[in-house]
């Protein structure tokens, strides 16, 4: 057993996701990324003297929907608290957040790994808060605060609604952490509550990482990893931190509870500050905001707006026997997944339908610029085509031709097949007749086969298929040919 295998990692993720709303959390300014600095600001989000916050109802609805998506409980009563600390890009020098009564409690995030393994991670809570502005440091220091001679602050982002999702320490590897984050991202995008663009900073996450000997149930001392700007850096940072902790313990060292920053260039984490210097945030209920009361009717109304979510879909596709890569690909394209689901509901064999949807249909969509779900090929028509393939009424070559004709609006595949006699033939007599014709015309090939060049069989099969104008059952052709040649 390697040293590494003797340890187990325990990981929890805190992630901040900017909500997609028309206006900011507590004022009417537009919630949009970018723009000239300090153009999306008002007395409220600049914390001018005398200004007051008013909570954004759309953000609260997004939060409830996010909670419902993870089967979290939605308390009837929730409130906003002030988290007090000084920071130049935080205009009020307190952040309006939620301390002990968040909008959602508990819940489970179902996610999967690359190999298709289904996993679960419990949520502690999701709470609602506001984002800060952005500081930029100039005059030396290469954008870092150290060495700079001045700082500029853009408050366009100040007051953007932010949800903080806190997981339980249920994750056991960097891969699981990424799987969890991907499931969050997919779900939020599907719900329409966030665009989740990491490059725009609309998803930011910290990881709490500790290790313990395999089999132990006690938690080791954890470190908090920050500055991870992509899922790839989450993967690398956590792997690197686990390795650092193992090496440290193995060399007789002790892990210090601290915040560590991920350095993408160096490929390692480094100490930022220890928890001993932790802030006392002096949380207290924000007296400028009234508590949020959520009635059951609102929850019921919002529950009806929750679509089929990615983890549920993925699990179903896996049950169909679809491979993890295809399943993931489809899950990540929800209009296509809806279309696929409709074809299955119309009776299509899932794997065959999936092959069409991700294969020829997607290709036709790309070539024509028309989305699959907006094309002339309805899910019901696709199911009809799949049935013709499944019953071996047509072979795959004909199926492909039919699909292209359906795409341009020629209607029901069954009707075309019947009208044009395209049904696959399994009439032994007729096929044998064609075989004799082909062998007569290709004497050398037949001789080569008999001489041991058996791979010539494919050529001969193709010739028979061609002679049948594609209608012959290829398996039968193959079998009869072989019989004839031996």
């Amino acid at each position: 057993m390697t040293v590494k295998a003797q340890y187990e990692a325990v990981i929890g993720i805190e992630c901040h996701v900017e909500l997609k709303t028309r206006s900011k959390m507590f004022c009417a300014c537009a919630n949009e990324f970018g723009g000239e600095p300090n153009t999306k600001v008002c007395p409220v989000c600049l914390a001018l003297p005398g200004s007051l916050p008013v909570a954004n109802a759309e953000a609260i609805r997004h939060m409830i929907r996010a909670g419902l998506a993870f089967d979290a409980s939605i308390p009837a009563f929730s409130k906003f608290d002030r988290k007090n600390y000084f920071y130049p890009d935080m205009p009020k020098d307190y952040q309006i957040s939620q301390y002990d009564m968040p909008l959602t409690l508990g819940g489970i995030v179902r996610y999967w790994l690359e190999d298709g393994t289904l996993k679960e991670c419990k949520l502690t809570r999701i709470h609602l808060e506001e984002d800060t502005g952005k500081s930029m440091h100039g005059g030396g220091g290469d954008g870092r605060i150290a060495g700079s001679s001045f700082s500029l602050i853009d408050f366009n982002r100040a007051g953007v609604p932010l949800m903080e999702c806190v997981s339980e320490p249920d994750l056991r590897s960097a891969q699981e952490a990424v799987g969890y984050l991907e499931a969050l991202k997919r779900t939020f995008v599907q719900l329409g509550v966030s665009d989740v663009k990491m490059e725009e900073g609309s998803l930011r996450c910290d990881a709490n990482v500790s290790i313990r000997p395999v089999g132990s149930t006690e938690l080791g001392t954890k470190t908090e990893i920050k500055n991870m700007n992509s899922f790839r850096s989450v993967l690398r940072a956590i792997e690197s931190e686990i390795e650092r902790q193992i090496t440290l313990l193995e060399s007789g060292g002790r892990i210090v509870q601290e915040t560590r920053g991920w350095d993408e260039g160096q490929g390692e984490t480094h100490s930022m500050r220890s928890k001993e210097q932790a802030h006392d945030y002096r949380y207290f209920p924000d007296p400028d905001l009234v508590p949020i009361e959520i009635d059951a009717a609102l929850i019921d109304e919002l529950r009806k707006t929750i679509p089929v979510l990615p983890p549920e879909r993925f699990a179903k596709y896996r049950e169909y026997g679809i491979d993890p890569k295809q399943a993931t690909q489809l899950v990540d394209n929800s209009p296509l997944a809806d279309y696929f689901d409709a074809s299955v509901a119309a009776g299509a064999n899932p794997q065959t339908s999936m092959n069409f949807v991700l294969g020829d249909l997607s290709r036709l969509a790309n070539e024509s610029g028309t989305a699959v779900n907006a094309s002339a090929v309805t899910p019901v028509a696709l199911a009809e085509l799949v049935a013709l393939v499944e019953s071996k009424t047509i072979n795959s070559k004909i199926a492909k031709e039919l699909l292209e004709r359906m795409w341009i609006g020629e209607g029901s595949p069954k009707a075309i097949v019947e009208k044009e006699g395209l049904a696959q033939t399994s009439d032994t007599g007729e096929i044998e007749k064609l075989i004799l014709e082909v062998l007569a015309a290709n004497g050398k090939a037949a001789a080569d086969y008999k001489a041991g060049k058996t791979n010539i069989l494919g050529f001969l099969t193709g010739a028979v298929m061609k002679a049948s104008r594609g209608k012959a059952n290829p398996a039968l052709v193959n079998e009869l040919l072989r019989k004839k040649l031996e």
Binding site: G50, S51, P91, R282, D288, L289
Partner: protein, 486 residues
């Protein structure tokens, strides 16, 4: 002195609406009065001659166009913790000494919309923390009844301006007695509506859960007119109440028949000395003479008012005043780094009383003390509300002193606690959010100085409260005397 300045708001508005006088004439008279006496009194931190003339012209145009403005041409003193676009808005603090507000407080806007004309920004205790205006960092305001004495506070500038005919109506804000006590000291009517009745948007926060804007005027009727103009829900203030406002100016009455007035057993006026004791006993008898039935009520928590208030108000202020950090506006004292800049800005910008309260509040919210102080104070506050609810089962209104003494001399309160004691009788009503007012009730001491009778009503019963105060005022006429020192 032009006699126009002696006219009350109701009278002026009626005359201006009838076009017998113009808003411009009234305004010129008020501005001349300010120029004549304010050098000695110091009511205003900023005189708004240009803006006043502009507003007066606009009022005259609107009157000419047929607008029936309830406060047409009424000269208005605006406490300088309320934003008014384009005017210096200081909260009487060095930290905001040169800050020009880019927006207007809802309450101020509603007064202007009703036709009031802003004459100046009135002095106050820094950030409304104090009971004498001595905590103003920017000016000294003197009591128009005796220039050696304070005008009260924190709305002392507005109270003195109204008493000295430098305005017909003043806007004040009351957190623990800051409208009622200066009204008593300056022999005017000062009215604090129910918490949430008047929007706080644009009022520089001291303690958010207690702050309430209200009018000061020379008659109850004028206060009622101003209240009617300001009261009502404001979407910019989540804590403003969405509930119909009963017009108070239409509810004024001439007697107190059928009303039960509660006298608080625990408020032992004998402790205030024989002269003041006799004065309040006479005031209660005057209520009875008007037909009120006097009943004894109990507020068992009365003695805990100050302790409760001086935890909650500082806790909230410690957070509310964090934004004065030198980053975006106001005073900035540069330092070696951002932390030093914060420290030096705040050390240089805040006065001693403000610092004291920030320190107390920070302490009360600190980890380990929060439950013992802040949480307990909130529980006590609930008990105050319950005690009042119970008391109001036996009475319609409560009568009490508005302050513990008449106006005192400058620098005579050597320790903060004796200053805090001035608000002993007003703080319980503030903690319970009740509407309460001070109406002149006679003179005490040598020289004879005005005293105020406090009347309080159940939540939202402003109309009843003002109606009763009007009857008392009409029957007794203590306010009629002009301020002798000017």
């Amino acid at each position: 002195m032009n006699d126009l300045v002696k006219r009350g708001a109701a009278d002026i508005a009626r005359e201006v609406r009838a076009k017998r006088i113009s808003a411009a004439e009234v305004t010129e008279a008020a501005l001349a009065r300010v120029d004549e006496v304010d050098g000695r009194l110091g009511c205003y931190l900023t005189r708004l001659h240009d803006l006043a003339r502009q507003c007066a012209r606009r009022v005259d145009e609107r009157v000419a166009a047929g607008d029936t403005l309830p406060l047409a041409g009424v000269p208005l003193a605006v406490k300088d913790n309320m934003c008014l676009t384009g005017t210096r808005t200081t909260a009487a603090s060095k930290i905001l000494e040169n800050w020009i507000a880019p927006y207007t407080a809802t309450a101020v806007q509603r007064m202007l919309d009703a036709g009031a004309v802003p004459i100046g920004k009135a002095n106050l205790d820094e950030f409304a923390m104090g009971s004498s205006c001595e905590n103003s960092a920017l000016g000294v305001t003197r009591n128009p009844y005796d220039l050696k004495r304070v005008p009260g506070g924190s709305s002392g500038g507005s109270a003195a301006a109204v008493a000295a005919f430098e305005a017909a109506v003043g806007l004040g804000s009351d957190t623990g007695g800051s409208i009622r006590e200066p009204a008593a000291f300056c022999n005017v009517v000062g009215f604090k509506p129910t918490y949430g009745r008047v929007s706080r948007y644009g009022l520089i926060a001291f303690a958010s859960s207690l702050d309430q804007i209200g009018p000061l005027a020379r008659t109850v009727e004028d206060a009622a007119l101003a209240y009617d103009a300001m009261a009502g829900h404001d979407p910019m203030d989540s804590t403003s109440i969405d509930r119909a406002v009963e017009p108070a100016a239409a509810s004024l009455r001439e007697d107190l028949k059928g009303l039960r007035v509660g006298i608080v057993k625990e408020f032992v006026t004998a402790k205030l000395g024989p002269e003041i004791d006799a004065l309040y006993k006479r005031a209660y008898q005057e209520l009875a003479d008007l037909g009120a039935e006097l009943v004894e009520i109990s507020l068992p928590t009365a003695d805990y008012g100050l302790a409760t208030y001086y935890l909650i108000a500082p806790a909230e202020c410690s957070s509310n005043l964090a934004r004065f950090d030198g980053v975006r506006y106001g005073l900035r004292v540069d330092g070696a780094d951002v932390g030093a800049m914060y420290e030096q800005t705040r050390a240089g910008g805040f006065g001693p009383e403000v610092k004291r309260r920030i320190l107390i509040g920070t302490y009360a919210l600190s980890s380990g003390y929060y439950d013992a102080y802040y949480v307990k104070a909130q529980k006590a506050r609930t008990m105050f509300a319950q005690d009042f609810r119970k008391a109001f089962e036996r009475c319609d209104l409560i009568a009490a002193p508005a302050a513990s003494s008449p106006a005192f001399e400058f620098d005579s309160k050597s320790d903060p606690y004796s200053m805090y004691m001035m608000d002993y009788y007003t703080i319980p009503m503030s903690l319970a959010g009740l509407p309460a007012l001070s109406v002149p009730c006679g003179y005490a001491g040598e020289p004879a100085l005005p005293m105020g009778l406090q009347l309080a009503a159940p939540l939202f019963e402003e109309a009843k409260l003002l109606g009763a105060a009007h009857a008392y005022e009409r029957a007794t006429g203590y306010a009629a005397k002009a301020a002798p020192a000017v």
